[in-house]
């Protein structure tokens, strides 16, 4: 079924070749993190790097690479007007009610952070609760335990977003960035937490609609989704009180699929790192740690994206040339590489090789030397049917090319074959055929000096040397029943004419 889906994706990709963003043969991954409700920039950054750490750990590497292709991480930051202020003011108001002097609200204002996803502020709150006489429990609860008002506020903010869904205008530069990533040759893994799912919903619409990107080129992982419309695997805990609260407001949340325990570290049960990437919270259903489940989703989606099929072809696919001639060859990738490949992180190389009876060679673009294998950064190479063969018969060379992609990270380079199988066949004519230059020397007063031939084949066993015709068999050609004898050895012809005491040597002219 998955294969069918991907095949369909490939078909769609071909159909979309005429769209604004045709399918690319992508060579890297961009993980775009869409942050949750009430997140600061630093919170979003922390979640992004927590995602990176989870993926690195899952792959057992310290490199930002998957299958030898670069993995880069971006943040699509979104925040809601007033959420952070509202939460802070909720705390301040409660503190002021408890202590009208204002000292509590001023000196211990920082405790409001405990309302926003736990962490050390929650640790302080828990310590205060445990250090306070039971007679004050009603106050510490009022001040420090996550008030319904806050989960309600976060849920309400999410509900507001649901009801007034973000538009493409809200995506702003995030949309432009996605375009740039596509043009840069990246497959996109969209990871969304909480309200970020509303923006990912929009991003999916954009990518599949306006941008007409084949679905094989982007994937999504939803964490604590604030919307029921899903585009990939999701994680939602039964004890996520923010999303549960949203469900009461909008009635439009997905079913929970994790039974993670309630933790004092994050009483709202909604934190990205505190809950969903927590390696110590185990899902009652599967027995797996939340972080392990997240890692599985991340790596499965990367594998899905990495399953693209890129093909390489060489043109012209077959050529017949005269020995000594050159043939320009060009490799064509289908689908093509992205137009603005991110060369800061990605290197592509074409590896050419030749084998066969001709023994042809390529011109090394760096050294100019001729070699049977060569690496180029551009898809073009020049083949020479120059090298010798001794059979005196026509020859054939097989050209092979593969496209390797590599990335450099943490001082190490990894590479993989992005596409291979590009082949071409080059055949040569009769090895006698071609232009030859050389000289002859007579030991009995006949002509000595330069002598050139242009040899053509005029019959099954007959060659024209220009001034005279010759009968050839294998590497030997004779004129006049043996008056003149030519011997072919690779790219050299030696000749002897008995009646003029001439001996000559000629080499092939390379085109």
């Amino acid at each position: 079924m998955a294969k069918l889906t991907r095949s369909l994706a490939a078909v769609i990709g071909i159909l979309c070749m005429t769209s604004a963003w045709a399918s690319n043969c992508d060579v890297g991954f961009k993980v775009i993190f869409f942050n949750g409700v009430g997140n600061t920039v630093e919170d979003a950054e922390s979640s992004k790097f927590a995602t990176r750490a989870a993926i690195r750990d899952a792959l057992g590497t310290v490199f930002d690479a998957y299958d030898s292709q670069p993995v880069l991480y971006d943040i699509a930051y979104n925040t809601t007007q007033g959420t952070l202020n509202d939460v802070a003011e909720t705390f301040a108001m409660r503190a002021q009610q408890i202590d009208p002097s204002g000292v509590l609200a001023n000196n211990f204002f920082y405790l409001y952070w405990s309302y926003l996803g736990g962490g050390p502020s929650q640790g302080y709150a828990n310590q205060i609760i445990s250090s306070t006489p039971s007679s004050l429990t009603v106050l510490t609860n009022a001040l420090l335990t996550l008030p319904q008002a806050v989960t309600g506020l976060l849920s309400q903010d999410l509900g507001t977003l649901v009801n007034a869904a973000p538009t493409y205008a809200d995506l702003g530069m995030q949309q432009a960035t996605m375009n740039a990533d596509i043009a840069g040759g990246y497959l996109q893994l969209l990871v969304a937490h909480s309200q970020g799912n509303l923006f990912v919903d929009l991003a999916n619409n954009y990518l599949s609609g306006t941008a007409a990107i084949p679905i094989a080129q982007y994937a999504t992982v939803h964490v604590a989704p604030a919307t029921a419309r899903l585009f990939g695997p999701w994680m939602l805990s039964t004890n996520d009180f923010v999303i549960n609260g949203l469900g009461l407001i909008s009635g439009n949340i997905p079913s929970s699929n994790l039974a993670l325990p309630v933790t004092t570290a994050d009483p709202a049960g909604h934190g990205y790192s505190e809950i969903y990437l927590n390696e110590s919270l185990y899902d009652h259903n599967t027995g797996l740690a939340a972080r392990t489940i997240a890692q599985n989703h991340f790596t499965q989606q990367l594998a899905y994206l990495d399953n693209q099929q890129c093909q390489l072809q060489v043109s012209p696919p077959s050529t017949t040339v005269n020995p000594g001639d050159s043939v320009p060859l060009s490799a064509t990738l289908t689908p093509a590489l992205a137009p603005n490949l991110d060369t800061n992180h990605i290197t592509v190389k074409y590896k050419w090789s030749v084998s066969g009876t001709i023994g042809g060679t390529f011109t090394d673009p760096l050294t100019g030397a001729l070699a049977p294998t060569v690496v180029t950064t551009q898809p073009n190479v020049k083949y020479h049917a120059f090298n010798a063969y001794s059979s005196g018969q026509s020859g054939t060379d097989q050209i092979g090319v593969e496209l390797d992609v590599s990335t450099f990270d943490n001082g190490a380079t990894t590479s993989k074959v992005l596409a291979k199988g590009g082949v071409a066949t080059i055949s040569t004519e009769n090895p006698w055929v071609g232009s030859w230059v050389g000289s002859t020397v007579s030991s009995c007063g006949s002509y000595s000096g330069p002598q050139d031939f242009t040899i053509t084949q005029i019959g099954p066993d007959t060659l024209s040397f220009g001034p005279y015709d010759a009968t050839f068999s294998g590497n030997t050609a004779t004129v006049g029943g043996g008056i003149v004898v030519f011997t072919l050895s690779g790219n050299t012809i030696s000749g002897y004419e008995a009646d003029s005491c001439q001996r000559g040597t000629y080499t092939r002219v390379v085109q």
């Binding site: 750490a53 971006d74 952070l84 204002g102 502020s121 250090s131």
Partner: protein, 273 residues
């Protein structure tokens, strides 16, 4: 100016009520200006063998939060208050709406155990629950269990060594049991957050530059701590930096100005040192 007002409120919220009873007859004593109190006449309950009186507290100041801590002592060591804790304190958590509104009254029945049946003079001291909680928190600051933070009205606070980090945050980072390089990573990020409080939010270039610095700072912390601990440390730095309302408002302004943006991963080395 706001701090002065707060201090003024503080003096009003500490309630001291003193009254005496003599020879089983209630005689009202001087009460504080904020609260007036009165005991009803003592009634001997033969069943419980206690002298009962109703203490009426009238709030003449700002609203008081429940529970009210009522400390009752007497000048007669043989007289105790039934139901009081070791400190002679009883609580009233039954205030309607959990508070005693300005001008409101509360009544508490006080039962005195007086086995020698001799005269005594009780003294009552009432502290609002919020004050008691505040005292608990301040004591935790004193022991180091809670951080001692600058709460001045300045956005940036004192920075004597001019390293771009508030002095109290410097002190707290230095006191962590972490390695030197880990603490250096936290300082790097603390500097970023400090900058966010005073950044020109109208300048996209400046915002982008700071966002990139934060990206580097957070990356650095993640490079030097296990992931779960990195997240905790980052939230801690954020919490102690953004620790007053005006700092919170400034910080929110920065975050709001980043709304809809894309923050790319930095290139190059994450850590300053």
């Amino acid at each position: 100016m706001e701090m002065l007002k707060n201090k003024s409120r503080l003096s009003l919220s500490v309630l001291l009520i003193t009254m005496t009873l003599g020879s089983n007859t209630a005689r009202p004593q001087t009460a504080s200006a904020a609260v007036a109190t009165s005991f009803s006449g003592l009634v001997y309950n033969r069943t419980t063998q206690t002298y009962n009186s109703v203490l009426t507290i009238t709030n003449k100041g700002p609203a008081l939060t429940a529970p009210l801590g009522i400390f009752i002592s007497t000048n007669n060591s043989s007289v105790t208050v039934s139901g009081a804790n070791d400190q002679g304190e009883i609580f009233d958590s039954q205030l309607p709406g959990n508070s005693l509104a300005s001008g409101g009254t509360a009544q508490v029945t006080v039962a005195f155990v007086n086995p020698t049946k001799t005269s005594f003079v009780p003294t009552a001291r009432v502290i609002a629950g919020g004050q008691m909680l505040l005292q608990v928190l301040q004591s935790l600051v004193g022991t180091g269990a809670l951080p001692k933070l600058d709460t001045s009205s300045s956005l940036t606070g004192p920075d004597a060594n001019q390293n771009g980090i508030r002095d109290d945050i410097d002190t707290l980072i230095a006191a962590l049991p972490d390695t030197a390089v880990q603490r250096a990573a936290l300082s790097q990020e603390a500097r970023n957050l400090q900058n966010s409080l005073t950044i020109d939010t109208s300048s996209p270039t400046t915002l982008l530059s700071l966002a990139t610095s934060i990206d580097r700072g957070v990356d650095c912390v993640y490079q030097r701590y296990p992931a779960a601990m990195a997240n905790d440390r980052l939230k801690w730095i954020q919490m102690i930096t953004v620790n007053t309302m005006i700092r919170s408002q400034a910080y929110n302004a920065f975050n709001l100005s980043m709304n809809g943006s894309v923050i790319h991963s930095h290139t190059g080395v994450a850590c300053d040192g």
